[in-house]
Symmetry: C2
Subunit: 345 residues, 2 copies
């Protein structure tokens, strides 16, 4: 069993508990901190969008289609479906001569409620552009279009089916994952992600290593190293694109810029880069709870960056309020998590 | 650590795990099945609404104000804020000469999305009547009005502040909880619930005992025994009121009628009565996940009722689909849970 990382308090008593595992690793694979089982494979889901976007830059597609920082940041995003996200994804597709019909991520209503409500009030319907993965998929479509151009085939036909594991685009994405993590993902347990692309279960140790490599360039090909730096810089320059209003990743990267790259994934996963320390991080909450993944990420970031930043604290000690706005409890880091990082603070 | 009760599969691999504890107890306190720590106090939240509604019937308020089965079922509900729920709660208040302003549960948008969207499309705003607890609170207001009438005081003034622990209504509710569970709740850890009334942390063993007593009447005062039976019958007669469209509790009680009373609570709690077996059940998922609470409840109900019912199986083995409707995984009972009830099947 993994240790409890986050406790949920109500009226001073512990109401719920979130167990999990985390690995903080340097670019040579040296373990800085380990909690729980870091060798058990976990599906990293959207937490590896940075790795999945490496081919977009390394292939030359980002340059060929003149992608801006905002567009590159959106390629690494799980966004809230706000108007800026939707128009940015649509802009990339328009430049390729394509529309939302090219996206194979599925239709999803914006996760940000006020945006959803104003769409409903105006009688609008959700499209694949509102899907939290529309930026990543627009990036995949860019790679496909460049491949089609190089191969002299018709882009729209070549793009079709790009979410399948055997499509040339997804092969490039899988190869980038294998190269960065040092694990042959073709031999890893495979599932289908929310946006219909394959997701591979990998050890937290290997995921943390991949992100340490993305922070330092060590252990990556020159093309991937350059791509990782450019993507991190793009997200730091346009952090709104990676999440949205009131989203943890956006708020934290608005505060810390290039000092911290972090990305949430579904089912309680986080991956992060701390470039100045040469460290990568990967964590998984056993039960899949996002609230605990964010609180753990915030706790670790406070310790490793030696920061008393209020945004981080507002997540590590998230206040819980009821329907009348009354303070009823909070999250807090559990003793094992506090102890593991006590020497870092 | 409590055992894993539910596993979440993706592509054949376990992606997430939910640990928890559960107690199945008879009305004399004999333990039929125990998994995990059943003596650690847990906040039962909305899973004890049946117990909190005992004074509504036992005080005579339900008769004094002519409450129907639907209105009594709504008093035990965490409803989805659908039109039938809202009009039923409003009807109770109207009979008392009061309006939604009397409710102190706070404003909540309907949890059922199509209802929320059609309200937004019509430009309507949420009210306290849409709060999932509006039926329970309407019941509290009934009790307050009867107390005011008996005491010769002005009802509206007497009602005000009924959510406070020291208000005469809430004292009656706490006394009912203490009597049914056999635990003096005034000495238990106390928190504030989502709807602003006190919630007390109690052992699963004591909660399961209370529900076994509600199924048999044994160990309860005559008034509470009668009230428990009437409330169970009301919910069986009007199961839509206790939840709503596509809600577990509603669907299960539509199928099983008086054979099974079950009620979910926030943060992964369930309480249930199996009257024909003379058993009560209480369970808590450590991490607070509703999906795991429902899957565990469904697994136990299948075993104890020796039922192959499809509704129960659709929750114990909940299918997970992505944004394109593709089957990506499912829930399933974990080995410890399966083993614990193997002899019951």
């Amino acid at each position: 069993m993994n240790p409890v990382l986050i406790e949920v308090l109500r009226g001073g008593a512990v109401e719920s508990r979130h167990a999990g595992a985390l690995a903080v690793v340097d670019a040579s694979g040296g373990v800085h901190t380990a909690l729980g089982d870091i060798d058990r494979p976990v599906f990293p889901r959207s937490a590896v969008k940075l790795l999945q976007a490496l081919p977009l830059v390394a292939s030359g597609a980002a340059d060929a289609y003149g992608l801006s920082d905002a567009e590159l940041a959106l390629a690494c995003a799980s966004h809230s479906g706000e108007p800026e996200h939707v128009t940015t994804a649509a802009g990339v597709l328009a430049r390729l001569g394509l529309t939302a019909d090219a996206l194979e991520c599925g239709t999803q209503w914006p996760s940000r409620e006020p945006v959803l409500r104003s769409m409903v009030a105006r009688g609008e319907l959700a499209t694949p552009l509102h899907n939290n993965c529309s930026g990543k998929h627009s990036g995949f479509v860019c790679v496909a279009c460049l491949m089609a151009r190089s191969g002299g085939t018709e882009p729209a036909a070549f793009v079709r089916g790009y979410v399948a594991a055997e499509h040339p685009v997804m092969r490039e994405v899988s190869a980038a994952l294998s190269a960065a993590t040092g694990v042959d993902v073709e031999r890893a347990p495979r599932g289908t992600d929310g946006c219909s692309i394959p997701t591979f279960a990998l050890p937290l140790r290997s995921l943390a290593l991949a992100f340490a490599r993305c922070g330092t360039g060590l252990g990556l090909s020159e093309g991937h190293a350059r791509a990782a730096r450019r993507l991190r810089q793009a997200v730091a320059a346009a952090p709104f694109m990676v999440g949205g209003t009131d989203r943890f990743d956006t708020r934290v990267m608005q505060t810390f810029g290039e000092r911290l790259f972090c990305k949430i994934g579904a089912e309680g996963v986080y991956c992060a880069v701390l470039p100045e320390l040469g460290l990568g991080l990967a964590l998984k909450i056993d039960d899949g709870a996002a609230r605990a993944a964010e609180a753990t990420m915030a706790t670790v970031a406070q310790a490793l960056l030696r920061s008393g930043d209020e945004v981080l604290r507002s997540y590590s000690h998230l206040a819980l309020r009821n329907w009348r706005g009354i303070d009823v409890g909070s999250l807090r880091p559990a003793p094992d998590l506090v102890r593991a990082f006590a020497s870092s603070q």
